[in-house]
Structures are given as C-alpha cells and as structure tokens.
Symmetry: C2
Subunit: 172 residues, 2 copies
C-alpha cells in the first residue's frame, strides 16, 4: 500500500470522479461553496500568491448572459446546472506566476467540489473576451467555467484514456 | 457537514499538509511515485490533454547538476531531499492550453504526494532556462521542482495567511 489516503477518498476525489454533463435540480448552497473554499485555500501557491477569484452566477439574468457566451455544446448544461462558477485569475501583476498559480488553484477547486460530494463540469469552451467583459473587471481574466451539482441522468461520457506511468515519468 | 471527504483525508491533503523544508533520509521508492501517478492521472485536464511530464532526479550526478541551478535558498534542501522531481509541460503545441493544463496537473501531483503520506516541497526559485537545457528537450519546459520525502526536524515555516471567502468569492 503506497498510498495513505483511504480508498474511499481516492475514489471520491480521483478514481470514480467524473466530469458531469447533466445535473439534478438539487441546489448548491453558499454554505457548500464556503466549505469547499475553506478546504482548498490551504493548498499551496508559489509565494502564497492565491490569485484565484470565483464568481458564482446565481441570478437568472446573469445565467442567461453567461449561457450566451458559452460554446454551443456547453450551453444547455450551463443553463441547467444548479450552480455555475466563473473561475478567474487576479492578474493585477499580469505575471506568468499569477497565471500559473491560478491554474493550480483551479485544479484544487475542482477537487474541492468533489470533496463536497458534488460533481464538477469544468469547461474551456466559451468566448473568453466576452466573459471577461461581462463578468470581470480589467484586472481579472477568466480561466474556466465550472458547472456544479449532483449528477443527473446520463451524466457521464466514457472515461477518456490516460497516459501510462512510462509515458509521463522518466528518471535521470 | 458540507463536505463528504473524511476529516482525516481533509487534514492529510489540505489542512495539516505543509510545504516541507527538511527531510529524513528515508527513501522514496519508484513504487510510491507510480502509486501517486496512477491516482492523480484521473484528475481532469481540458480536452484530456495531460501535458505533465515528470523527471525523477535519482543519480548523484544529476542531483548535483540540478542543485547548481537552484536559487541559493533552495540548494541545501534540494541536495538533501530523498527524491527530487522536475515537473515539466510538454509544449509541443506551445499553446496557452498546454501551460494551463500542466499547471492543473502540478497541483494534482502535489496533492498526490500528500496522498502517499509524504511531504512535498514545491519550489519556483531556479534557473528555468538552465533546467530546460540540462534536463529537458526542446519540446518541454520546466514548471516546478518538487522535493519529496518524510519531513525532518524543523521542517515547517509558520503557515502563511490565506485569503478569506469574502475576498475570493462574489455572487452575481
């Protein structure tokens, strides 16, 4: 047993966790999002920079504005998800480090959603300039849009293949 | 209880996990690294791109070459850690997406090290061009260097402050 993390936690966060494409109507509360943030905030960023910012899209008007900016294949699920979060980088410094750190934190956030027993549907297909203009100020840039909720019927595509250890890891 | 993940797993991965600055001499085996990779490979990347590549620096000669390229404050701990991993992005496409996805995977890898009950010491202070030249081919770029092992004496600095929920999350 090389891993200390329990098999249940391994399944919850990694092995059984999947990107959801449909959701039930069960709401996602602010308390759940707070619990997610208060867990993942401890994961490290270079120089403790913490550039991630999160915009929760809750009003029907805001949801409608966002759906129009999503790629066609992402519109129906973004309209239907119980909660949609825009994940952005505070790029006040416009540095390579800010972008790197914010991407780290996007990964932590996705695992945090799973830690809350919810499914995440992260999406990269949207009009990024439009999302920046509609939802963020000039110091922020969108990095991902994430649908959050309990998986609905036919929520999963087939698991895509993963690279093998030998393809990824070399030793010198 | 907004989180489903067990309190033990929360502590292992996030709340009690800390960047280690000293290590014991206990080795980190290839089996442990394989178990880490075979867990974190399931975490998502946009378009399943999986650009992360890992170079394990195991030979004394390679370790010496790497230590010389680290920032002065990182040299002693990089020389002493049981294992040092160079995390790199396969940037064959040189795309923004590859860099973003690789950063996501750096975050997953750090949590995977913790899932193995080990401490990670990720570092951003090094001669990046030198590491690329000494350890990677032209299609790859270093993203982080990570010391891995069991924490030694005085391994921890004080925990740096984290942003509050209100500073990070807004609602529209």
């Amino acid at each position: 047993m090389s891993l200390v993390l329990s098999p249940e936690a391994q399944d919850l966060l990694f092995r059984e966790a999947r990107t959801a494409n449909t959701f039930t109507t069960e709401p996602v509360s602010d308390e759940q999002v707070r619990a997610i943030y208060d867990l993942v905030k401890y994961a490290p960023t270079a120089m403790n920079q913490q550039p991630l910012r999160v915009v929760l899209v809750r009003s029907p008007q805001a949801r409608e504005r966002l759906v129009r900016l999503m790629a066609p294949g992402n519109q129906a699920k973004t309209a239907a998800a119980p909660l949609v979060a825009i994940l952005a980088a505070d790029e006040a410094l416009r540095s390579r480090t800010a972008t790197f750190n914010a991407a780290l934190q996007v990964g932590y956030f996705i695992l945090g959603v799973r830690a809350a027993g919810l499914a995440a549907g992260p999406m990269a297909g949207y009009d990024a300039a439009g999302v920046d203009k509609e939802f963020l100020d000039e110091a922020h840039t969108v990095l991902a849009v994430v649908n959050i909720g309990r998986p609905g019927p036919d929520a999963w595509f087939d698991r895509l293949p993963r690279l093998t250890y030998e393809e990824v890891v070399t030793t010198v």
